[in-house]
Amino acid sequence: MSARATEDVIAALAAEAAPVRPLAPPLARASRLLLVLGLLSAVTIAVLGDLDGMMARYAGRETMMMAETGAMLATAILALFGAFALSVPGGSRAWLVAPLPTFLLWIGLSSAGCYDLMLRRGLGGWGAVGDGTCFIFLLSASLGVGVPVLWLLSRARPIEPLAVATLGGLGVAATAAALLQFFHPFAVTVIDLVFHLLAVLIIVTTAALLRRLALRPG
């Protein structure tokens, strides 16, 4: 194409130079979102959570529970920071792998918890205990958290929608998983863990598939 055509493009764009309000820095936007999510989660847990049940489930394994929940929260925070960082041009690509160590730690600790349960209960620690409620909880909580997250991310019109949607999806799924810790009515078996991971996969994949619709890429 010719340089002349580029001049025409510039003239056309300059003619459309309507004022725009610069977005706040991604770090600040992500922090504000996490603050609101944290407050809403705290209120939800205080009103509806089963803290006594949770402590009973993890009796003698409090450190493990805190580490597992911490890994989930760290994954959520890093993934959401990464999504916001990459939603604007020039964000570091290091954010793509930033949540990976904490995600692996989360899966590792959850698996260790399952293994521990199997040792204590034998085959009883293998099969599914839940009736699918936790699976539905994860998907519903992700929907509740995911809609505002994707809307906020879409305001930047990301030029790399796949990376932003995938990180955003992971952040949402990790947030939902951390919330679930406070509502889980039973210890997690291997099959329960598989369903948890399936829910995470569904959430991340859905976010990635909806990227064009949800993020209005630039």
């Binding site: 055509a5 493009v9 764009l13 725009v20 977005l23 820095p25 020039g90 570091s92 930047a156």
Partner: protein, 200 residues
């Protein structure tokens, strides 16, 4: 260095001319709606944008297309620039992204389309079948009336006048995305019409 600003700048692009302070001021003014500042900014960044595209692409023919595409993207995301921050990493990320997209598109086209050196020999003399040619022309004209005005405009600009998407977008006011969709739908509708005619 700011953790959200670690985008690596291509070495060649670092050598491109341009006063960063001027660019920052012009872009900030453009965000405020100053059309002249915006025009000056877009003009000033062209050599840098071309250098970034050239660094990423081997194909010289694609560079101007990528630059135009990057300008359109820049227009849509100009609100993501934070006044006072360096412009170059922000701009380089946009051009790089569009260059990667263009390289992928070009790779796909290269993999799926073949050049047939003897194709011209299969075309008959235009005067050989005047009746069929007239019928085909009539049929095509009828099918064109089935298209929406936006589809017709997109098809004419992109396929008949062979404009780039960026040029067609500038000429029609339709976004690149809308053009792609309208061209796709127009071709699909024409193809259905041809199938219908063939069946009749």
């Amino acid at each position: 260095m700011h953790p959200f600003r670690l985008q690596q700048i291509p070495r060649e692009a670092e050598l491109a001319n341009g006063d960063d302070r001027d660019w920052e001021a012009l872009l900030a003014a453009a965000q405020g709606g100053d059309g002249e500042a915006y025009r000056a900014f877009l003009q000033a960044i062209l050599p840098y944008a071309r250098a970034v595209a050239r660094r990423r692409l081997g194909n010289e023919n694609l560079i101007e297309d990528v630059v135009q595409d990057a300008l359109l993207t820049l227009h849509r995301v100009r609100h993501t620039y934070q006044p006072g921050r360096p412009v170059r990493p922000w701009l380089a990320a946009i051009v790089n992204r569009r260059a990667i997209d263009a390289a992928r598109r070009s790779g796909r086209v290269g993999a799926r389309e073949v050049s047939d050196d003897f194709a011209f020999e299969t075309f008959a003399d235009p005067d050989a079948n005047p009746n069929e040619a007239a019928e085909a022309s009539e049929s095509l004209a009828r099918m064109m009336t089935d298209l929406t005005p936006r589809q017709k405009e997109a098809l004419e600009l992109v396929k008949l006048k062979e404009m780039s998407l960026a040029e067609a977008s500038a000429a029609s006011g339709q976004s690149v995305g809308a053009l792609k969709v309208n061209v796709h739908r127009a071709i699909r509708r024409l193809r259905r019409g041809l199938d219908r005619d063939a069946a009749e």
